[in-house]
């Protein structure tokens, strides 16, 4: 029988190197997988990991993919640290996109209206917050699990979006496609760098990352969040207000997810469609854990996962690899990361079977 025995002093270096080891193992396993599928492993890995980012445009795309992941994951990580399990960032992201689009579509700005984009961002944040407020209220009032309520609200948000773009908000000149009219130029985020599609949302995400780090490691509120997450009874003893932290972490992650959604519709897409997100809100959960719930770790994790999205597309285009390879890669990465983390903290032992 194989037993896991806790190591008394897990090595700090090993804890830091574990994610690198996991990435390396993922590459090896990926190469093996490609070989078994009949592709040249080197070419496939190159198509997956190098080709997408060997140009300025490619790097911009990478940052653009990473932005919504980063925004969502930072908010989620703050909650996860406090044992608040918001699984519904996807729904909050969609509601943020919807609220921001509402501003763009119904205020119909005239040319030269610089207040429109800020108003859209504000609406996006409020939309995500409002959607996250529902699980917070249900948890504190009725002790309902936020895991279930936030997840279920994601499906409500998705259906609401489909109804909007298929009905009331459908573009009358859109040949019956389920999508809104294109936003006015003032309601679209301009590119930051010439030759890329990257907008200032990426800078915002970086600022949010720094803010998240500051909140968690420097402020007394962050200390309270960590205590609540680690040992709820000690937080009660110290007099930390669990209700306040529940509200705060859900509203914060809702607002950030909402901004992420708005940043998509007002950025690369330029209109509201049912395909705002390929599941950013769910993937952000992986990103948060991949980054060990630490904002700086999450920054790297979001880039890595964004690369796996781009790589999947690139490998599909150039080699004809199935798009499912992206999911396989993300799954392997998570698997190896968790496995290496377990081995850093525990030592496997062959135990004698007892009579």
């Amino acid at each position: 029988m194989l037993r896991l025995e806790a190591r008394p002093h897990p090595s700090t270096a090993a804890l830091l190197l574990a994610p690198l080891l996991a990435v390396l193992l993922t590459l090896l396993a990926g190469a093996l997988l490609f070989a078994l599928l009949g592709f040249a492993p080197a070419a496939a890995l190159k198509a997956f990991f190098i080709t997408p980012v060997n140009s300025l445009y490619g790097l911009g795309e990478l940052a653009m993919k990473a932005t919504p992941l980063l925004l969502c994951a930072i908010g989620l990580a703050v909650g996860f640290r406090a044992n608040i399990w918001n699984i519904g960032a996807e729904g909050q992201l969609l509601m943020g996109a919807i609220a921001g689009s509402g501003v763009a579509l119904f205020l119909r700005p005239a040319d030269g209206a610089p207040w429109v984009l800020p108003a859209m961002f504000l609406a996006g944040a409020l939309g995500g917050m409002a959607w996250a407020a529902v699980p917070a209220f249900l948890k504190l009032r009725f002790n309902a699990s936020e895991i279930l309520t936030s997840l279920m609200l994601t499906y409500v948000a998705r259906l609401f979006l489909r109804w909007l773009v298929g009905g009331p908000w459908r573009d009358p000149d859109g040949y019956n496609f389920p999508q809104s009219p294109m936003f006015a130029p003032d309601a679209v985020i301009p590119p930051l760098l010439h030759g890329t599609r990257l907008g200032f949302g990426a800078l915002l995400a970086l600022a949010v990352t720094l803010g998240g780090w500051f909140l968690l490691s420097r402020t007394f509120l962050g200390f309270q969040i960590r205590v609540i997450g680690l040992t709820s009874a000690a937080a009660g003893y110290a007099g930390f207000d669990r209700g306040r932290v529940t509200w705060l972490s859900l509203l914060l992650s809702g607002a950030l997810a909402g901004i992420a959604g708005l940043n998509e519709v007002a950025g690369p897409i330029g209109q509201l469609t049912p395909f705002v997100s390929p599941g950013y809100g769910f993937t952000a959960i992986i990103v948060a854990f991949l980054g060990r719930l630490h904002p700086i770790g999450i920054l790297f994790a979001s880039l890595l996962v964004a690369l796996s999205y781009l790589g999947g597309e690139s490998a599909q285009i150039s080699l004809g690899l199935p798009l499912a390879a992206t999911d396989v890669f993300q799954g392997m990465l998570l698997f190896f990361l968790l496995a290496s983390e377990v081995l850093v903290r525990y030592r496997p032992r062959l135990a004698r079977t007892r009579g």
Partner: protein, 516 residues
């Protein structure tokens, strides 16, 4: 069954057992004769529990021999131990509240047989040893002493020839302890061997014929407890001289009342929970009031009502420093000058994964400027932790050590020090030395006495009567959610308090209400 009384019932030689990072048993030898009551004595962490678990088959020794009735044996599991004739009563009971006594016993037996026959056997065993027990009563209606009887009867049904008792008196009233000792003496007279684990020296002197003392995983000596003083045994246990706490000159009376409880009650939805009823108490500055009682009689409810983790129905029920505080949370009560030492150290009083500096911040955030404008000043938290470590002699590498790496006694010294250095007006401490070794306990007692000397009001809730008699000026007893009147400690005895712990209260005659 060999009647030869010169062959040891159980002989251990050279037993060693290591865990990652610690050598729990190191070449331990122990010889148990038929018919003797043998004490195994040692501080927490001395290796007693590990040794007993090896005897009972829960753990396997890394090396060493065991001989049972002169024949070498290896005991692979608790079931194998029971087949040999070894029974064990654990410190923490494993009983199901909603099942009857007989059902609980049936669950614990390897071959219970039909229920009717089992009920007859239970009745026979309880009659033979005077262990009054109704097989059909549900366990939740039993007192702690009665629950222990269930465990003992369960063991006796297996006809053990070696009975291991792990700290059996920690939950009993003095009267219940006397009853238990009578049973143990009768069992020994029948030729059964009893291995009695405890750190209560007076009990061991009253009960045991021989004592083996362990320290840091080794056997450091053995003695005849009746012929050895408690002090000598304590010094053998801790390896150095023992400082006895000294009380300073009695402080002047008629100081301000710092804590007042008026008709405090609590409610609960849980049918098995204890609720407080009409609790009244007052504690003055510079005074130590002790609350005795068997665990589970409302102490936990009283403590959470006092700390603010549970709010009271009416603000005026709890008055701290003249301010009605029943509606306030722990944070607001701390700002009124309350400091609080909870019973549960790791997981309530401290966050196991966090450093001592972070744990200093946990309850010390209100003092010493550790938080300014919402930001933590970690330098100040580290310095505060270092001060606690120095003042209270906490054995640790420094403020960066995680709390879970400290031994129980050291962590308790840290927590009590953390609360004391906040200069509280009122300190409430639950079981301040429970499970703490004798040396650290003496230090903690001295620190509490000094604090009272400096004018702080102290309320100590403890099951350890010796501790309460050492520390308190006045003692009250908690039973069934009610609190007795307080009695000055020099006007009462352990026996009187023991009777009250069993639920026999006098009329309330006293001054607690007069101050309101």
């Amino acid at each position: 069954m060999p009647p030869d009384a010169s062959v040891p019932r159980l002989a251990l030689t050279g037993i060693s057992k290591s865990f990652p990072g610690c050598r729990a048993n190191d070449g331990v030898g122990l010889t148990l004769m038929p018919g003797e009551i043998h004490a195994l004595l040692g501080e927490n962490g001395a290796g007693k529990s590990t040794l007993v678990k090896i005897i009972y088959g829960v753990l396997q020794a890394d090396s060493g021999q065991m001989a049972w009735d002169g024949r070498p044996v290896s005991i692979a599991s608790p079931a194998a131990a029971r087949r040999l004739g070894i029974g064990m009563v654990f410190q923490h009971f494993s009983l199901f509240d909603s099942l009857s006594v007989a059902e609980n016993i049936a669950l614990g037996l390897d071959r219970p047989g039909p229920m009717k026959a089992l009920v007859r056997r239970i009745a026979a065993v309880s009659a033979r040893y005077g262990l009054a027990l109704d097989p059909d009563r549900p366990v939740h209606s039993l007192s702690v002493g009665e629950r222990q009887r269930v465990e003992i009867v369960r063991c006796l049904l297996g006809e053990p020839r070696l009975l291991i008792m792990d700290e059996p008196t920690s939950v009993l009233t003095p009267q219940e302890v006397d009853g238990l000792f009578a049973v143990l003496r009768q069992l020994a007279a029948e030729g059964r061997t009893i291995l009695y684990i405890s750190h209560k020296l007076d009990e061991i002197r009253a009960l045991c014929g021989r004592a083996t003392v362990m320290r840091a995983g080794r056997v450091v000596g053995s003695c005849d407890p009746a012929a050895t003083t408690s002090r000598a045994m304590a010094e053998m246990m801790i390896g150095t001289g023992l400082a006895v706490p000294r009380r300073g000159p009695q402080s002047a009376p008629a100081r301000d009342t710092v804590l007042e409880l008026h008709h405090l009650f609590t409610t609960s939805d849980d049918p098995f929970a204890v609720t407080l009823a009409d609790v009244a108490l007052s504690v003055r500055a510079g005074e130590i009031v002790g609350i005795a009682g068997v665990a589970g009689n409302g102490q936990a409810e009283l403590l959470s009502a006092l700390s603010g983790e549970a709010r009271s129905p009416d603000p005026g029920m709890i008055v701290i420093g003249g301010v009605a505080a029943g509606h306030l949370g722990p944070r607001a009560r701390r700002s009124l000058g309350l400091a609080f030492v909870p019973e549960e150290r790791l997981g309530r009083g401290a966050v196991p994964e966090m450093s001592l500096a972070d744990n200093a911040l946990l309850s010390g955030y209100g003092s010493g400027g550790m938080v300014r404008r919402g930001l933590v000043r970690f330098g100040r938290a580290r310095r505060y932790a270092e001060r606690v470590i120095q003042h209270f002699g906490v054995a640790t590498r420094g403020h960066a050590t995680p709390a879970r790496a400290l031994s129980g006694g050291n962590l308790q010294k840290f927590i009590i020090g953390r609360e004391i250095l906040q200069n509280p007006r009122l300190l409430i401490a639950a079981q301040p030395t429970w499970g703490v070794d004798a040396g650290a306990a003496a230090q903690i007692h001295q620190a509490l006495l000094d604090l009272a000397q400096g004018g702080t009001a102290l309320l100590i809730v403890s099951q350890d009567l010796d501790e309460l008699f050492t520390l308190s000026d006045r003692i009250a007893v908690m039973h069934g959610g009610r609190l007795s009147a307080t009695t000055p400690v020099d006007q009462t005895t352990v026996e009187q308090i023991g009777l009250r712990m069993g639920g026999i209260f006098e009329e309330r005659t006293e001054t607690d209400h007069a101050s309101s």
